[in-house]
Symmetry: D4
Subunit: 232 residues, 8 copies
């Protein structure tokens, strides 16, 4: 498959060269696409024996897709909390496990975003560890988990409200921290803006930021970093 | 002096009843007032044997005021970092020391605001302790000072950038935390907005917030809280 | 119970040391947690004979929780307007009443937030007084209540729209004023932003601010201040 | 002079019909115009025997204009605080005094805007009264002036910071209140935005708002209202 | 009735002195009040033989109130487009008609706000004229109505989108223009912010602004101006 | 028909002179108008033998309008994705095809806006080409279509998220690029604001921008540009 | 010269293929480039016998560049108001005049932006007409110029403050209107944001918008449109 | 040196354990610190034989520091464009070169930020390549450099204006892209906000973002990623 090939599915132009150019095939963003379109894309991936990941798959679409692919020669994994769906065709070559990604969430409401990050990094072949409900208001909860964090190749920190957790984590680890602001909170949170600004202004030098609620992106960037460690 | 009396100084209407109604006399906000006007107000306070505090006094105004009052029967204290000036008339009744206020600043650039908070609380009769440069990126700096913080009646936390420090302090103390966002930072800090939103969205329940760079207000509210402990 | 102990409830890490560190046990924020999780946390508190407070409990969750705990040896108080729920286990040691908190609301629509503030301060042991519908457009309504306000250890002012009430109240009292902007209003109110900015820029020195609609936080900070008066 | 006549001064097109259509001739906005251009416009007005008002005239332009017109048959009034300049040509028909406009300012820093409002209303023929430094933090200062306010045909309220004063004034008077937010303040004031939003969200029904620092506009609208009373 | 009397209805404190202080009794803002509370307030007004106006009354509340008051000795007027309801008790003294208010709306979607303005001005005794769908894109529609506008004592201009209409109207009339931005529009309209900013920055000197969608306030201010003309 | 004629339909004032002044008759904006009003306007156009276009016609209104006009001597075209409806009366003079407009969309979710742009340009007589799903993340998709783009008289680029596509397209073509930000995206997209700002700040000199989701406006401006080529 | 050729000037990579791809060579944006760098780029253009345009050239850079090129075989045009500089090498082939662009400015302060637009369109070969000071507050000023506007192939409207002028112009012409918001104004103008939002929300269908103060871009897009008319 | 040791320099608390915890010693942020304080910190590092990096060092501070350290046994490197200063004490152990970081800037004005990123990554031991002036408007400039980018372990993209470049780069590489928005631009750029939002909303999955103008942070995160490759 040439690195600038396009698979024309009518209203969708699949970037078939992505895997060669970027290391991983296109991930399907489910929002704003109907279930039929998603199925069409997944089928196209399956024909290439590619392990496909789809994000923002709500319950209805997930049910539809599980029905479409259940009788066929694929394995379908749906994580309802993460709203992700993976389609692993029979005979698809599995990626070698490589690198460790730790995902830390500040509160229980941040779980869906944290799970999306986990699923993405896992699909890319990283070993993932999820540490939940470790917000700064109860500081000992984080301190108890430092050894796990310090062992990771990349740490993802998912937090809403004031978004202070990445700064605190950043002060304890020597790997990059990918911060994900969430829209969790109320009042002057302004849909995640408060957490986003907090993370962008982090005084910790090792913190980079992705979009509000962008668990997928954090998982993807962390997965790429974890890749770097494969030959260790 | 009746509690709704006004002293008319032409373009300024002094609220002479403030001390009776609110416990402390009016504090003079120096910005936007010329040195002559400030001197006129200070003289009016001195005549009442009142220990006066003026804030936002820049170097020029401070020099002018020190000259005006140096030959007279007053003591003038000018804190150039805090930009405050106190005028203590001879025979003025000093307040009894009461309560402890701890002021924590995140970085060296936050010093002017932290100093303004200290001067205000001190003028109100509180014992003040200043802990500088204790931001979250070097967490052990804060932990080393916890005993001091846990002994205070009110803690003021002054921080710019992401404004995460009040949340962290809030998780360790049992008194109110008054958070002051500063305009220190750059880029998406937006003049202190990032720190302000962070502090308003703090997950710590004991954190209240004042305006950006409002060291005076934080000192005042903390000073009032410290007052409560006078009979202990 | 050690001050950095954690109770691991799976997706929730209870900060069991909070009471020792911060004076009061964790308050359960009900939004974004399902009823089962809240029940699990409440049960854990009950086993410790701790008087628990949960906020942002909607009608459905409240009904569920009242059913779960009605046959057991607890008292359940649900305030539907405040959306709070208290679980008082038999044999739980009640806090001694201490200090007075006055809560003033500007309009009838601010009632839920004002009630949440009251419930919180009350849970902390403060005597609370609620003054409703005292907005600045009808100034005599506030003036009639001044003696009550001037007797309080802390005053909470809850207001939407332009958020002018805390400044006015601040000019009449000698204790800290905790201002709560509400999202009540329309148009250029921008979900409470107008009131929030108004309160942050208050010309009254004794006004500190909490997040939009954060009745709980205002109650908590006021409750801490009221604590200071216990030995008077 | 026909109501859609234009006087072409090169880079300026004077709206010569404004007086007929709108009751008053064009007022010259001095900012962004050089002194020569302003002189050219003033001369054109003088030739029509029109009493001209120019706003936003800084010290340098004022000096230039006073020099230009001093030897001629005009009277030049320059108010340096208001930054206004009036040119009254000899033989110009003076407007009959009509109506009363009260201007209230919250603090001493609001004086320039309040003065601009006064000068404008005065130019339009209204009797003006200026009440300075009557902000809400010292409530008795306003109450002392109520009789004056209640006697006015229109009240202009000029305030920075939280902009609460118009709401309070609005609750005491039966005429329209024109609120002018000023950029006075700091921190989360955001150049007058806080005061602007506060005034727009005023709970008082009789408050309309003009742009930040727009003393001229407030004076103009109030002057038009005062006109209505001329036959009383 | 004394000018600072309060009628205590439990959760509502009626400002009974408003009529004496401000010329008109309190107008009931229906949003955020339940129908029972509104009925209680209306009844209190009816007992005083006061012609009451309630705004933001949705269809359900209107039906409830019409039922409550239909068998009694009152007249109930409900304008469903304006969402206003008037209760005129038998024997209530009607206001003398005085002054003319013209209301201009830019588009058909602005009708509810324009109607609310009309109803308010009418309740205050003004003669009102409504000119609909006169936006700037079809300029001749406005020009055709100039005589009506030029005859009014106050003009209310209601517009969404870019909010350009008040500036254009302002250039043709000699009375105050009260501009009401509406939340009509899409995209970068940001809920009426675009129209609001446009109107605040109007180059026409005679334009004052009220809150987004605040038809009531515009009607009230215009009604007060119309009052001034009563003795002509 | 004179160029400032108005057709008065009660609450709608049809700008009958628009075609003469602006080249095309008024397009009916369906949002905020009920189906009956739209039918009334369409009928008025049909009587003038004018090919009418209505936008923002949802499914219900479309069904109503198709029923109203199905038995009559008109052709009705409804594009449900674009939410447009065209009514072509029998005997209406069709416009001559003139000029080419290429519409490029970044992702499948941008389709409704892109379709609205197409329908508008087509109604104006332009030949339109739609290139879908050509976002910058898969750059070869765009490169493959360059010949089509370089042949157009105007290119419309529809994109959400970061809105980078117009800048990239602008670097390859010699005609004007009309950029349409869409509200597609999440998090810090803020309803299309991110894409809007991106497009306004485009480093490509040939990019002009219309409102968020304003497919109609982009189609209209592009259609006008295409008109210019008619005599080639 | 091939269409993807690059001329490497060290810190600048000249896009030598721009003329072939986009119809016109790169325009030099002077801000943030030092005079030496600009001279280096101009010289490179001169060697290709290309008529070069540079924008945002302040007085100092202009003087430097005029000195550099005065003794050589070029013509240098500097427009200090527009801050543009053109370098026409001897023997450079002049573009054929084609199409008409009308530039309308609302006020005298908008002149620099309007001039930049004119210079750009003129460089591209369009005939340009500048109509100054035609803002909506004096409506007859615009009406007097309608014949000129209606004769243009593209109209550029430059306005600050509320930005209403493009909507009004748009209602009178049949060609595209390119609207340029300027940062002229004060208070809630927010550096041109008010005008920008107003123009984006214009109710006129033929209005597209460029960045605040982007006279160059407006001139460029209008120049491209004017190109379309060359064979008429 | 223990990992939570603090070196107390009076107003600065040096985090001496940072190197052990985070892999690299603290970097000195020069803004808001006076030259004496910076010298004091540098001396402290030198005593530990640590290669120190200071950022945001303006010309005056750089001159002062070069003077302070020139006679001593150190090497001082000052990059005036990057505003960085390195102090390498004699006998300091140099880091082994490891990994490659490519830095791409969109325009010449982005150079200072790009240089700061380079200096930081270089200090951390990465090989750095700087590709300047490769913005999207001249697409072939980027395409010519793809082999260099595809060989890097991390790519930093520095861009102002619309911030589109990271998305385009992201589509061609398989490593993480660290995007740095700059405050370069004008008008609706809003100090870098446009570029920041564009980058956060990037459709490329491998893009993470740091604060506006935060070249240091981007260099630091990229340097950490490059570290991962050391054993390859």
């Amino acid at each position: 498959m040439h690195n600038d090939e396009i698979i024309d599915l009518g209203n969708v132009q699949l970037d078939a060269g992505r895997k060669e150019r970027c290391g991983f095939p296109e991930v399907i963003y489910g929002e704003g696409k109907d279930a039929e379109t998603i199925a069409k894309i997944l089928r196209s991936f399956a024909e290439e024996k590619t392990d496909a990941l789809a994000t923002r798959i709500d319950a209805d679409k997930a049910e539809y897709l599980q029905n479409v692919f259940k009788t066929s020669e694929h394995t379908v994994f749906h994580n309802p909390l993460a709203r992700t769906l993976r389609l692993i065709p029979q005979g698809c070559k599995q990626r070698q496990p490589q690198g460790k990604v730790a995902v830390v969430s500040a509160g229980t409401s941040d779980a869906p975003v944290a799970e999306e990050a986990c699923e993405t990094a896992r699909w890319m072949g990283a070993e993932t560890i999820l540490i939940q409900d470790a917000g700064v208001a109860g500081p000992q909860r984080l301190l108890a988990k430092l050894p796990v964090l310090q062992d990771a190749d990349a740490v993802i920190v998912v937090a809403g409200m004031e978004g202070a957790l990445p700064s605190v984590v950043g002060g304890y680890v020597s790997c990059p921290v990918i911060a994900v602001p969430t829209s969790v909170g109320y009042g002057a949170n302004f849909g995640g803006l408060a957490a986003l600004l907090g993370m962008l202004n982090s005084c910790a030098a090792n913190v980079a930021v992705v979009n509000i609620d962008a668990g997928f992106k954090a998982g993807y960037v962390a997965g790429l970093i974890a890749q770097k460690t494969k030959n260790e």
